[in-house]
Symmetry: C2
Subunit: 323 residues, 2 copies
C-alpha cells in the first residue's frame, strides 16, 4: 500500500503552480483554493485539520499569513514561502506555535540582481523610452533627442548588502560604477559603509533598494532622502514597494526633484500609481525581477526538498525558522 501523501495547502496562488502544478500535485496531496468553488474561508475550514504544510506567496488573495489564520491550522508544521522576503508571515506566531518556516532563500538572487542592473541601465540610458519613441513612429519626425547619462562613474548606494545587494554591486563594478552601501552591520567588503540612509543619499547618485521589508525599513526612503539624493538622483527598487514612501516618490518624480526611477515593486500590487504612467523617466515592471525559467526550476526543487525534509525529519534546505 502506498504511503499517504503529505497534505499541503497553497495560499496566495504562487506563480510556481503555473509551471510545476502537475509535478507538485503528483508528489504531494495539494489543496488549491483557486480550483475550488468554495469561498476561501470555507475552503480553509474544510481542510485545515489535516493540513501539515503550507506553500504561500506574498502576492494575491489570502497571502497574509496572520496569527488568526495560523490559529485555524492545528496540525500545521511547516510553511514554505515561494519568496525570499517573509514579511507576509507572522513569524512570532509561527515560533510560538512551533511552525517551521522555509523561504526561497537565494534561489532568485542572481535574477533579481540582473534585473536591478537592467532597470538601472534602462533608466540612465532611456532604453524603454527609446523603444516607445521608435514604436510610436516618432524617429522620422523628431530629429532631436535628449542625451542620456553614462552608467560608468555613477556613485551607486546599495541599500541592503545581502545576497542580492552583493550581486548588484559586483555587476555594477564591471561598468565602472562606484559602490557604497547601507546595512545594519558593516560587512567584510571593501565598499564604503554608511549606517545612515541620509549620509548614503548624500554620497550617491543612485540608490538600489535590495533590503528586506521590516518595521525598520518601512518608508526608509522618504521625501527627505529623495531630496538629499537630488535632481540627478535615480532610485531602483526590486525589493518591496513599502520600503519607499510611494506617494512621496511619485511627487518627487513628477516635480523633477529626482531624475528617474526603475520600479519592479509597489505598495499595493497589482495597482501602480497612475501618475507614473505618463513619465518617460520611469521604468515600470510587474514584480518579475525573479521571473525566469531557471529560477522557477530551482524553486520547484527547493519546495520539494523542504517538504520532503519535513516528512523525513531532516533539516530544512532553506530554513527561516527551524522548529
Amino acid at each position: 500500500m502506498a504511503e499517504p501523501k503529505c497534505e499541503v495547502i497553497v495560499l496566495g496562488r504562487p506563480a510556481v503552480f503555473q509551471f510545476y502544478n502537475e509535478q507538485l500535485s503528483q508528489k504531494f496531496l495539494i489543496h488549491k483554493p483557486w480550483e475550488s468553488s468554495l469561498p476561501l474561508d470555507q475552503f480553509i475550514s474544510t481542510h485545515a485539520q489535516s493540513i501539515q504544510a503550507m506553500i504561500c506567496s506574498p502576492k494575491g488573495i489570502g497571502s497574509q499569513i496572520s496569527s488568526s489564520l495560523l490559529r485555524l491550522f492545528q496540525s500545521l508544521r511547516l510553511i514554505v514561502t515561494t519568496s525570499t522576503g517573509v514579511d507576509h508571515i507572522d513569524l512570532v506566531e509561527c515560533r510560538r506555535r512551533g511552525i517551521a518556516v522555509a523561504s526561497a532563500a537565494t534561489v532568485f538572487s542572481e535574477d533579481v540582481a540582473d534585473f536591478a542592473v537592467g532597470l538601472l541601465i534602462d533608466v540612465l540610458r532611456k532604453i524603454s523610452a527609446a523603444d516607445r519613441f521608435v514604436n510610436n513612429g516618432l524617429w522620422p519626425i523628431h530629429g532631436d533627442y535628449p542625451l542620456a547619462s553614462k552608467v560608468g562613474g555613477r556613485k551607486v548606494g546599495i541599500v541592503g548588502l545581502g545576497s542580492i545587494g552583493r550581486k548588484v554591486a559586483k555587476r555594477l563594478e564591471a561598468f565602472g560604477c562606484i559602490i557604497s552601501y547601507l546595512s545594519r552591520r558593516k560587512k567584510p567588503v571593501s565598499y564604503p559603509f554608511y549606517p545612515d540612509v541620509h549620509e548614503l543619499a548624500t554620497k550617491c547618485d543612485v540608490l538600489v533598494i535590495c533590503c528586506a521589508l521590516t518595521d525598520e525599513t518601512r518608508h526608509l526612503i522618504n521625501k527627505e532622502v529623495l531630496l538629499t539624493l537630488g535632481k540627478e538622483g535615480v532610485i531602483i527598487n526590486i525589493a518591496r514597494g513599502a520600503i519607499i514612501n510611494e506617494m512621496e516618490l511619485v511627487q518627487c518624480l513628477e516635480q523633477g526633484e529626482i531624475a528617474g526611477a526603475g520600479l519592479d515593486v509597489f505598495v499595493n500590487e497589482p495597482n501602480v500609481p497612475e501618475e507614473l504612467f505618463s513619465l518617460d523617466n520611469v521604468v515600470l515592471s510587474r514584480h518579475v525581477a525573479y521571473y525566469t525559467e531557471d529560477s522557477f526550476r530551482d524553486l520547484y526543487e527547493l519546495i520539494c526538498g523542504n517538504l520532503e525534509a519535513l516528512f523525513l525529519n531532516k533539516p530544512l534546505l532553506s530554513p527561516v525558522l527551524d522548529d
Copy 2:
C-alpha cells in the same frame, strides 16, 4: 589682428551641434548647411574653395562622403567624423587626394558597451515589455505572465572584439555569461576564438554585433546564421544595420526562428521595418547607444583637438588616415 579662423563645413548635421554649437562656432568659422536657405549643392559650391576641414556624421542628409563630393573640395585637408565607424567615407579617395581622416575613436566605447548590455538584459528579461504591460494598465487584469530567460550562463558570441566588444565581454562576464568571439584575427584574450560566424552561432545563444561595417561584414548575419543560432537565440546590434540582412532578421523574428532582438541600428535610418513594431520580443532604439552627456563632452574636445592639430601641423588625436 586676430588670425583668420579655420574654415570648416559640416555635413550630415552631427548631434554634437545640438549641444556644442556655440563653442564650436566661436573657435572655428563653421559653415552649416542647415542654417542656410540654399539647397545643399549650391551651399557646397558657394563655400567649397575655401574649406580646409569637414565635420561629418554617418546620419542625415549629405552624410555620404563620396568621391564625387570630395572632388568639389579642392582645399580640403581633414575630415573629422563624429562617429567611430567610417563606412560613410570613401577612404580610398581620401588617401588618393591626401585628405586626412579622424574619427571619434573610442570616445563612445563605454557608452555603447553599456547600451549593448542594457539591450541584452532588456530582451532576455523582457523589461521594455513589462514597462509596456504596466503602462497599458494590464497588470490588474492579466494574472499570468511569461517567464523570462536568465542572463547568467548564456553563451554570448561577440562579433568583433574591438574596443566596444571587449567592454561588452567584461561586463557580461560579471553576470556569469560565457563569452566567445569572432574577429579577423585571434586576440590575446582567454575567450574562445571562432573565425567563422556559423561556428560561433552554433556555439552561442546570443550574438552581440560590435564590428565595423565593411565589405566583408555587410550581411554577415543572414538567415542561415540566424537559423543556426536557433529558436532560443537573441541578436543584439549596436554597430551598423547593414551588418545584418534586415529583411531576413525580420522574417526570423516574425516566424519565431529566433527568440528576440535588441536593435539600436537599422539599414535605412530613421526608418525601422514596421513589422518589428508589434513584436514584444524586440527592443528598438534610435541609434543612441553612444548618446550621453559625458560622451558628447569628450567628443567635442576630440573634434577641437583634431582641428587644432591640423592647423598647428601636429599629429591628429584620433587618426583613421593620416596625411
